[in-house]
């Protein structure tokens, strides 16, 4: 057999709730209960409200750069719900706020982060996640390492890590997938393919037809899902997490979604993408879709929507108040978390003298010298 096929693969795409809010009942079986769906929708509304306020905070000069999550809520929540709060661990990028909130991150933390305050990253004890990750593509290696520790200690836990389509171009993505599969650690790789990496569309980011097929390089399980479909995201994530925890292997999930807003508040997407494209995706907004579904099932109506909008407004206002109300961090913080051990002498001096001079010189010694040179 001088020519023979040594490898075969295929990638499936999963959709359960279509754009009109119609559910594939068969596929939906054993996924989410009505209560869960309702909860998810309400949570998405809250997160959307949060997102809009964050945007406004930036626009009014009360916060720095902020990357809106708008349009990607189903991907974040669906996957987040598949992981078990307090048991599993999340390693995020910066566009899945909803998953983090779901797993217990106090909501003001994200605002604090974007307000230029490290306390936004001070994850409370018992909340299982790393903070937002700024350098693209780097966090998947941490996820792999954490999952590896679980495996070493035979803990029945799993890690899910988030990243964008652009992030899959970084070498670290490759190394993380490879380490994860070689050591078969309980880690799920969740790509939010929102079609853009700032101004670069997916087709210019990669020559492959899908992100999902990148997982074939590592012998990982690969699946593409409609990322704006709560059910599909949940189902794929749940299967991947269960498999991972059982030692059954690593999964790469490609969630097809769309970044409805600018890349960040520092960006102006009109420079590089057509309004038409954006418009076509607005109809696929996961919130609209889920509302249609719930309405059809008689679980939602305008009154409920209005009540929730009102409630969310208040809740988010409260969160903003908390974030803005926090005292300015102490300048000592610049030094005090550099090491877990006693501050080296030079750093102690820098800390002691920082308000007056950056010399880091012992003021007494400086005075002494001054005397002696005059003598």
């Amino acid at each position: 057999m001088p020519i023979r096929t040594v490898y075969k693969a295929q990638i499936e795409y999963l959709q359960i709730l279509d754009e009109d809010g119609k559910l594939d009942e068969k596929l939906a079986k054993d996924t989410l209960t009505d209560e869960q769906v309702l909860f998810a929708y309400e949570f998405m509304l809250l997160c959307r409200a949060y997102d809009e306020i964050a945007f406004k905070l930036q626009r009014s000069g009360r916060m720095g750069t902020y990357p809106q999550n708008k349009g990607q809520e189903a991907a974040a929540i669906g996957s987040g719900m598949a992981a078990v709060k307090g048991r599993d661990f999340l390693v995020p990028c910066y566009r899945e706020n909803a998953a983090l909130f779901l797993h217990g991150l106090p909501m003001e933390k994200i605002l604090l982060h974007w307000m230029g305050d490290e306390r936004g990253n001070q994850i409370p004890e018992g909340v299982n996640m790393t903070p937002l990750s700024i350098p693209i593509g780097t966090q998947m290696l941490h996820a792999t390492g954490i999952a590896w520790a679980y495996k070493m200690r035979k803990e029945d836990r799993c890690v899910i890590t988030y990243f964008g389509d652009g992030a899959t171009s970084e070498g670290d993505f490759h190394e993380a997938m490879n380490f994860a599969t070689v050591f078969n650690v309980p880690c799920v790789f969740f790509c939010q393919n929102n079609q853009w990496a700032i101004s670069v569309p997916r087709e210019s980011q990669m020559a492959s037809e899908t992100v999902a097929q990148k997982g074939l390089a590592y012998g990982a399980h690969c699946i593409q899902v409609d990322g704006n479909d709560l059910f599909a995201v949940y189902k794929a994530s749940k299967e991947a997490i269960d498999r991972a925890r059982g030692g059954g292997g690593v999964t790469l999930i490609e969630a097809i979604t769309y970044r409805l807003a600018d890349h960040t508040t520092a960006d102006d997407a009109r420079r590089y993408r057509d309004e038409e494209e954006v418009a076509s995706w607005r109809g696929k907004d996961p919130l609209i879709r889920l509302r249609k579904y719930l309405e059809r099932k008689g679980m939602w109506n305008d009154a409920k929507q209005a009540a929730h909008d009102e409630k969310n407004k208040l809740q988010v206002a409260e969160i903003v108040k908390n974030a803005e109300g926090i005292e300015r961090p102490s300048v000592d913080d610049i030094f005090d978390y550099t090491f877990g051990t006693e501050l080296p002498a030079e750093l102690q001096r820098q800390k002691a003298t920082m308000r007056t001079t950056s010399l880091g010189q012992d003021p007494e010694q400086a005075g002494l010298h001054a005397d002696r040179s005059r003598a």
């Binding site: 720095g64 750069t65 982060h113 974007w114 307000m115 230029g116 305050d117 490290e118 700024i134 350098p135 693209i136 593509g137 652009g166 992030a167 171009s169 970084e170 070498g171 670290d172 990496a197 700032i198 101004s199 670069v200 210019s204 980011q205 990669m206 520092a266 960006d267 420079r271 590089y272 300015r328 961090p329 300048v331 913080d333 610049i334 030094f335 550099t338 080296p344 030079e346 750093l347 820098q350 800390k351 920082m354 007056t356 001079t357 950056s358 010399l359 880091g360 010189q361 400086a366 010298h369 001054a370 040179s373």
Partner: protein
């Protein structure tokens, strides 16, 4: 002559060099259609096409490594790394290949390229968008490192860098990208790599700095008592260091303050202070002092102004050195 910001001056230099030399290509994340996140490459893709102003995938090692290949094959690539904090993934290609290829091959293969990177703090940016890594690369043999502090120098240094036969790191202090304007000649000209500039002459003390801190030094100098005559040197080129200009000045003044944003320990201040004590030992009236970032991670922006040297600290240091 036109009254330009630093961003515009760089854009002009790029435009003119691309116009003059078909080998010059720009590549990086979002440099094309979007014109760069700071709009430094604005309009270039429209003018020169997507084959010469290229949006790359999101991969810094890929950008640096393919730029090296382009340079090997006779092009004059100008890769952009979007922020200095993202040089990390490109470090290996830059340090172990770009910087070494000429000497590794005894001149057979060379890497003429300019790596453009916005650097420094003060713009309220997120984490890893505010660092100052120049000393790392000054310690790396085979690289030249420049950092302009004015639009005029930016244009002239960039043109010099593009024409240089070796890899040049071109650091752009983002804090002053649009902070002020300056008359910049329309014609092409170069500012030589390796030459510092005496910004203002003085006799009592030398202040040495570069990049965005020059503005702060000028502010500090303005605040000094009338009887202190300070000389301000803008290093402009971080490596190779213009020792002559430094030594001449400190031999005259006998006192020196060095200002930079990067952490103090092993920063450029250490090298310059050491050069001074080597070359001007008998002229020194006081220890050379450093006003620098702290030896801590650059804080998020709520505290960044507490971290960065400012005019007050610089003036304070000058006062201490004068009082010594």
């Amino acid at each position: 002559m036109a009254n330009l910001t630093l961003v515009q001056a760089i854009n002009l230099a790029l435009t003119q060099e691309m116009e003059a030399d078909p080998r010059v290509v720009c590549l990086g994340e979002d440099v094309g259609k979007n014109g760069g996140v700071f709009r430094v490459t604005e309009g270039l893709q429209a003018r020169f096409g997507a084959d010469r102003v290229i949006d790359t995938p999101l991969a810094e090692s890929g950008i640096m490594g393919t730029a090296i290949g382009l340079a090997m094959a006779g092009m004059r690539p100008i890769p952009e790394i979007q922020f200095e904090g993202f040089m990390g993934p490109a470090y290996d290609q830059l340090v172990n290949h770009a910087a070494r290829y000429r000497t590794r091959t005894r001149g057979a293969i060379t890497i003429p390229m300019v790596i453009r990177v916005p650097v420094g703090g003060g713009i309220h940016a997120p984490e890893l968008h505010s660092d100052s890594p120049e000393a790392i690369y000054a310690h790396t043999p085979g690289l030249k490192v420049v950092m302009p502090s004015t639009p005029y120098d930016a244009k002239g240094l960039l043109i010099a860098a593009i024409r240089d036969p070796d890899p040049v790191l071109f650091f752009e202090p983002k804090r002053i990208y649009r902070a002020f304007r300056e008359e910049v000649p329309e014609d092409e000209y170069t500012v030589p790599i390796g030459k510092a500039k005496v910004v203002s002459e003085g006799t009592d003390l030398t202040v040495i700095s570069w990049g965005a801190s020059i503005t702060l030094c000028l502010e500090a100098l303005d605040s000094l008592p009338e009887d202190i005559s300070a000389e301000l040197i803008d290093l402009r080129t971080i490596y190779p260091i213009d020792e002559d200009t430094i030594a001449q000045s400190v031999e005259k003044t006998g006192r020196c303050v060095i200002v930079h944003e990067a952490p103090k320990t092993c920063g450029m201040g250490a090298e310059i202070a050491t050069i001074i004590q080597e070359k001007c030992f008998l002229h020194l009236e006081a220890p050379v002092q450093r006003v620098a970032g702290f030896d801590t991670v650059m804080p998020y922006y709520k505290l960044e102004l507490d971290y960065l040297p400012d005019a007050k600290r610089i003036a304070e240091a000058i006062g201490q050195v004068m009082a010594y």
